[in-house]
């Protein structure tokens, strides 16, 4: 209906507006040097955190499946694109063109991995996807650490042992150096590009959700058997949502990689910890709430990283010190509390009674 379309359009506009407003405030401040270096250093991370959270929410909130390997897809996107940028640094000198190509390559590779994992696992019940994606994230991280790629006049050399076994000729250079990763990447990421990527991610995800395909995906989430009975192809739509989510995570990885001079894969940036952190953003912003996934990463990072540090400088408080030292502990507690508070049937009942809503029908 006309009315609905205009209402969802308005809701979408608010979400885009939040991103644009944040950009409009931050960009001039950053340009004129009014931001502290720690805060201006957070601007690009904000962008990829939001891209990652929004894309994970597509899997968790809209598709209703748990992925614990989101950082793995980010890792694929980061390494594929950084490798590409490193290879063409001499040939493509326009950083914007190079970045856009890198973005395409990073997302395409991540999407490919999404399909490869999704096909066997999405047919099974949810818990398996959680385990397999977790395993995938760890495997990718390990693989990248034993990957050595070099280039000389003869072409590309490849090894999984060490850089010496690449047997590079005179003037050859090591492009990917195992645990040392890829160094000398051109830092093509900017806050403007990051903001555009956030808007693009939102555009794709929001419009997908509000299309025929999105309806099918959410129908599967709400009742798989009923969705099948009205002719919705379960595997196809699960795979579609999962692959789009993986591709966007890859895009986030591209932004991440091009914000660094040296890209390595450690358990900090691409491990389980990162996947969980993104999941925390999604849960805090609200599972299935896309706008929440835009706001939560920024607010959490501002509060935990920026303001806590600032307060600490003003006075030595043991509580603040503890909070900033044990961020992951706080995340874990908050995650449990939010889940129990928002999803426990008793709490839902209490909330409904409070707001006078009818009790939800229960599945038999």
């Amino acid at each position: 209906m006309k009315k609905t379309i205009s209402r969802t359009a308005r809701q979408n506009a608010i979400t885009y507006g939040i991103v644009l407003a944040f950009f409009a405030v931050m960009q001039p401040l950053a340009m004129t040097g009014k931001l502290s270096s720690s805060l201006s250093g957070l601007l690009i991370p904000f962008c990829y955190y939001v891209v990652l959270a929004v894309s994970l929410n597509l899997t968790v909130g809209i598709l209703g499946e748990l992925s614990l390997g989101h950082a793995g897809f980010m890792c694929v996107g980061a390494f594929a694109s950084a490798f590409f940028s490193k290879c063409v640094q001499g040939t493509i000198t326009n950083s914007l063109v190079r970045f856009l190509l890198a973005l395409l390559i990073g997302s395409a590779f991540a999407a490919l991995f999404g399909i490869l994992i999704g096909i066997p696992v999405l047919r099974l019940r949810g818990d398996y996807l959680a385990i397999v994606t977790l395993a995938f994230g760890e495997i990718i991280k390990n693989l990248v650490n034993v990957l050595f790629i070099g280039r000389d006049s003869e072409g590309i050399h490849f090894s999984m042992k060490d850089s010496l076994s690449l047997h590079l000729g005179e003037g050859g250079e090591v492009l990917v150096n195992g645990p040392q990763g890829i160094s000398g990447i051109s830092r093509d990421s900017t806050f403007i590009l990051g903001t555009i990527l956030v808007l693009l991610t939102l555009f794709i995800v929001l419009r997908l959700i509000q299309s025929r395909d999105g309806r099918a995906i959410m129908a599967i989430r709400d009742n798989r058997i009923a969705a099948e009975s009205i002719g919705i192809n379960i595997t196809k739509y699960k795979l579609m949502a999962f692959t789009v989510s993986a591709a966007l995570a890859g895009a986030g990885g591209v932004l991440y990689a091009h914000n660094l001079a040296t890209l390595t894969a450690t358990s900090k940036n691409f491990g389980y910890n990162m996947s969980i952190m993104i999941l925390v953003y999604v849960v805090m912003g609200g599972i299935g709430n896309i706008r929440g996934s835009v706001i939560a990463p920024v607010v959490l990072n501002l509060v935990l990283d920026y303001f806590l540090r600032k307060f600490q400088l003003m006075g030595d408080s043991p509580v603040l010190q503890f909070l900033s030292d044990n961020r992951m502990l706080i995340y874990a507690i908050v995650l449990i509390l939010i889940m129990v508070m928002t999803w426990s049937p008793k709490m839902v009942e209490k909330r409904n009674a409070l707001f006078g809503r009818r009790k939800e029908s229960k599945e038999g």
Binding site: L66, I131, V132, A135, N145, I287, N326, A332, L335
Partner: protein, 294 residues
């Protein structure tokens, strides 16, 4: 002869996986949830023994019993505080995400208390290694104890479930919670008991794991925990003998993978097993097919 040595250490590692997998498979079969924190309970069990033995100077056996008690209480508390409120939640993801939160909480609490330094765990097994075939084959005391312990546990657990009243209640709850309730079975109590047993087994697994691989960190439990879940799926989730078979097979695959293919790829091989099993026979070796009621 190296082949036999690899096989023996595979069976030894596999026996540890089997004990952990039993905890997963019982909880999965009865409470229908993947308890992500199970691996971290192992870590708590190992730290308890470590502290009891090295700081308090307790002998091995009391330390292990203490550790089992600590883990049992921990398992029951986790179930009561974090999982039970979410039983019957609108989305099955709710309890899964909470379990991840609990796993994370345990790891970070251990990090806060014990720091990230690796603690060197001293073995609890006083046996000297057994040498066979003129010293070509060595079986360590830990291996012997681990294999014996896993066999004892599987036999004991099977007897418990098939011969005792609480065991039968577990079976009933795993078949149909609603019907079990109507028959007067205390469903919450039965699930709590399942967590208690699974967690006390986790303590034993933790001690055996750290005796064989004597380095202890807050993350010690998480990888073996995940692999044990793979073992449970491999053997057929919900099946006790299946957990044993799956665990031992997975242990052998991992050790052979490390020895003959690549040590860095051993984990990848284990997970590849999971994907192949899920593709070929999603119910595992001994699992029952689950038919969704329409």
């Amino acid at each position: 002869m190296t082949f036999l040595n690899y096989l023996i250490s595979g069976i030894s590692l596999g026996s540890v996986y089997a004990i952990i997998a039993l905890g997963y498979t019982m909880v999965y079969g009865i409470a229908k949830m993947l308890n992500f924190a199970h691996g971290d309970v192992i870590m708590v069990g190992a730290y308890t023994v470590f502290v009891a033995m090295s700081s308090s100077g307790l002998p091995a056996l009391p330390a292990i019993l203490l550790s089992m008690a600590v883990c049992t209480v921990l398992g029951v508390v986790i179930e009561r505080v974090a999982y039970r409120p979410l039983r019957g939640a609108a989305s099955p993801l709710a309890v899964l995400i909470t379990a991840i939160g609990v796993s994370y909480l345990l790891q970070n609490l251990a990090l806060l208390i014990f720091g990230s330094n690796t603690k060197s765990f001293s073995t609890v097994v006083p046996l000297s290694p057994l040498k066979l075939a003129g010293g070509q084959i060595t079986i360590s005391g830990e291996t012997i104890v681990t294999i014996l312990a896993s066999i004892l546990i599987v036999v004991g657990l099977s007897l418990f479930i098939n011969r005792t009243k609480p065991g039968q209640a577990m079976l009933a709850v795993s078949e149909d919670q609603g019907a079990a309730k109507l028959m007067g079975i205390n469903v919450n109590g039965t699930i709590a008991l399942t967590f208690a047993i699974g967690s006390s087994l986790a303590a034993i697994a933790g001690v055996l794991l750290c005796s064989a691989y004597p380095s202890l960190t807050p993350y010690t439990g998480s990888m073996p925990g995940i692999k044990a879940f793979v073992a449970a799926v491999f053997g057929g989730i919900g099946s006790i003998p299946g957990a044993m078979i799956g665990g031992i097979l997975l242990g052998i695959i991992e050790i052979f993978g490390k020895a003959y293919i690549s040590s860095q790829m051993a984990d990848a091989i284990v997970f590849a097993v999971l994907i192949i099993v899920l593709l070929v026979k999603p119910t595992g070796i001994l699992g029952k097919p689950i038919r969704e009621k329409v």
